[in-house]
């Protein structure tokens, strides 16, 4: 398992991501689905639950930075 494999994966927001909040995303990885603590890749975004996001940065062990996969 390498760090690079996490980047670029798609995931779903299960806890609201935003400034001052610790969000949560669930991502398909290692044959299952795991959740990671998530922060917005661009500092001021607020991403509501249910939004599809893409991992742009992975900080081991359980932290990812994400941005919305589709422009709304």
């Amino acid at each position: 398992m390498d760090d690079a494999s996490m980047v670029g994966l798609m995931g779903r927001v299960t806890g609201t991501i935003g400034p001052g909040l610790v969000g949560e995303v669930i991502v398909r990885v290692r044959g299952g689905a795991e959740h990671f603590l998530a922060y917005p890749a661009s500092g001021t975004d607020r991403i509501e639950r249910g939004t599809v996001v893409m991992v742009v940065e992975y900080l081991p062990p359980r932290t990812v930075y994400v941005q919305a996969a589709y422009d709304s």
């Binding site: 390498d2 806890g15 610790v22 081991p60 932290t63």
Partner: protein, 491 residues
């Protein structure tokens, strides 16, 4: 030789068994819910940076040198920790919170390495450690929330949990799957009081709804009772009607027996009456046959006999009278006819003789005159004399004609008389009141009719004679000529 072969074979088998045993000792397999942490060798580290000194194997087998490398297992299973924490909320309300934390070792190698370093020998104590960590964190979490939030806002609770514990647990290589608040003990009754207005409102609404429902139910019930009463009334009316019909039918049925008896008795009486009538009739018939018929027959016989006798007598008398009458009539007719025929014959002869005589005389006179004239006048009156002779001859012929007529009348007299008597031919029964005189009168009248016919004939002849002789005076006067005076002769 076979011995050697057996030994070799046995050694080979033993060697294979030893090899298998060694392999078994050296080959370790990581099960899905565990990670093998292998330390003690220098060979390549997998998934981790160099210098770590151990390697992590998950989900597959690996070769381990016994005695050289140490293999430890780290469970990746789910763990849970009960929490009993006294907290104070954001509003400063003391609460006793009971909850549960569900966590596990993270599946990535970093997490496994972190957890391995921290908990490999204390896997049994992991829950306790986590409890201690979470007890403090839960206080901070609850302190950041109000009671209402805790009760109602799960999102906020989980968000706060992540914010407070997420990074903390990352350090331990653990993942918090869930934090559940099971029970909140509220020594001050805050929650109860919090619920009270709503409970009261709910109770009010419930009572209102109950009352409304009761009202509706009562209305429905009363309507239903009214309907039931109506139905009962209708049913009773119908039942009464049917009962009346039943009573009527029953009474009719009860009366049916006596009625039938009476009818039967009546029938019997009628039949008896009929029998009596028939018997009386039969007796009457018998009496008729036995008594009356013979008497009638006898009377009829007597009557018939008497009538026959009487009729016979009457017929005899009538026959006798008729015979007498007919005999008298026949006699009278015969006598009268004979007398008349004689008289007519006599008269006819006389008349014929007179006429002949006169004709002769006239002829002689005429002859003498003619002779005288002829003598007197000679040849000059010859034509005239001849004419006179012709005329005289014609007159003589006329006189002879009258005689012929008279002769014919005389000859036909019996037929004339018979025609007169034929007036009586159709009379079956003639009652003559005056006897023979009456009879004579009747015949005289009948013959008068024939006589009248004769008179007419004579008159005709007379007029012919006058035309033949110059009798101008009588014709000028229009008086009946003398020959018509002869008619009474026939009476």
């Amino acid at each position: 030789m076979p011995m050697v072969v057996g030994v070799v074979a046995g050694v080979a088998v033993a060697a294979i068994a030893v090899l298998i045993g060694l392999f078994k000792l050296m080959w370790r397999v990581a099960e899905p819910n565990e990670a093998l942490i292998i330390s003690g060798s220098n060979h390549k580290t997998e998934g981790l940076e160099a210098g770590m000194g151990f390697r992590i194997v998950t989900g597959r087998g690996t070769l381990v040198l016994p005695g050289v490398q140490a293999v430890r297992k780290l469970s990746l299973d789910l763990n849970e920790t009960e929490l009993h924490v006294d907290c104070v909320t954001h509003q400063g309300i003391p609460l006793k919170v009971r909850g549960v934390v569900i966590f596990k070792v993270g599946d990535d190698f970093v997490s496994i390495a972190n957890a391995g370093r921290r908990f490999l020998d204390q896997q049994k104590l992991m829950s306790e450690r986590v409890h201690n960590v979470f007890a403090g964190h839960l206080r901070s979490i609850v302190g950041g929330l109000t009671v209402e939030d805790m009760i109602r806002d799960r999102e906020k609770l989980t968000g706060q949990t992540r914010a407070a514990c997420g990074t903390e647990m990352e350090k331990l290589g653990l993942i918090v799957d869930s934090l559940q608040i099971h029970e909140i003990e509220d020594p001050t009754g805050y929650i109860q009081n919090l619920a009270m207005p709503h409970a009261a409102a709910v109770q009010r609404d419930a009572r209102i709804a109950q009352a409304e429902a009761n009202r509706l139910a009562t209305e429905a019930e009363q309507k239903s009772y009214a309907r039931m009463a109506e139905a009962t009334r209708d049913s009773e009316i119908l039942q009464a009607g049917y009962q009346a019909e039943r009573d009527k039918a029953g009474a009719k049925a009860r009366q049916a027996g006596p009625l039938a008896d009476a009818a039967a008795r009546q029938e019997v009486v009628v039949q008896e009456t009929r029998i009596a009538e028939l018997e009386a009739h039969r007796r009457e018939q018998q009496l008729q046959a036995d008594v009356r018929k013979p008497a009638d027959a006898k009377a009829y016989e007597k009557r018939t006999l008497a009538e026959a006798e009487r009729d016979a007598q009457i017929s005899g008398a009538e026959a006798k009278a008729k015979e007498t009458e007919l005999a008298a009539a026949a006699e009278a007719t015969r006598v009268k006819t004979a007398a008349m025929a004689e008289a007519e014959a006599t008269k006819a002869r006389g008349t014929a003789m007179a006429a002949s005589t006169r004709a002769t005389g006239e002829a002689e006179a005429a002859s003498a005159q003619a002779k005288g004239l002829a003598e007197a006048e000679a040849a000059r009156a010859k034509g005239l004399a001849e004419a006179e002779a012709i005329k005289a001859r014609a007159a003589a012929l006329a006189e002879n004609q009258e005689a012929v007529v008279a002769q014919q009348l005389a000859e036909n007299w019996p037929e004339i008389v018979r025609a007169g008597a034929s007036a009586f031919g159709n009379a079956d029964n003639m009652v003559i009141l005056n006897g023979a005189d009456g009879m004579a009168d009747m015949f005289a009248k009948a013959l008068t009719m024939g006589g009248t016919g004769l008179g007419l004939a004579r008159q005709l002849l007379a007029s012919m004679n006058q035309n033949g002789q110059p009798v101008n005076g009588s014709s000028l006067n229009g008086v009946a000529s003398p020959p018509s005076q002869k008619v009474p002769v026939q009476e």
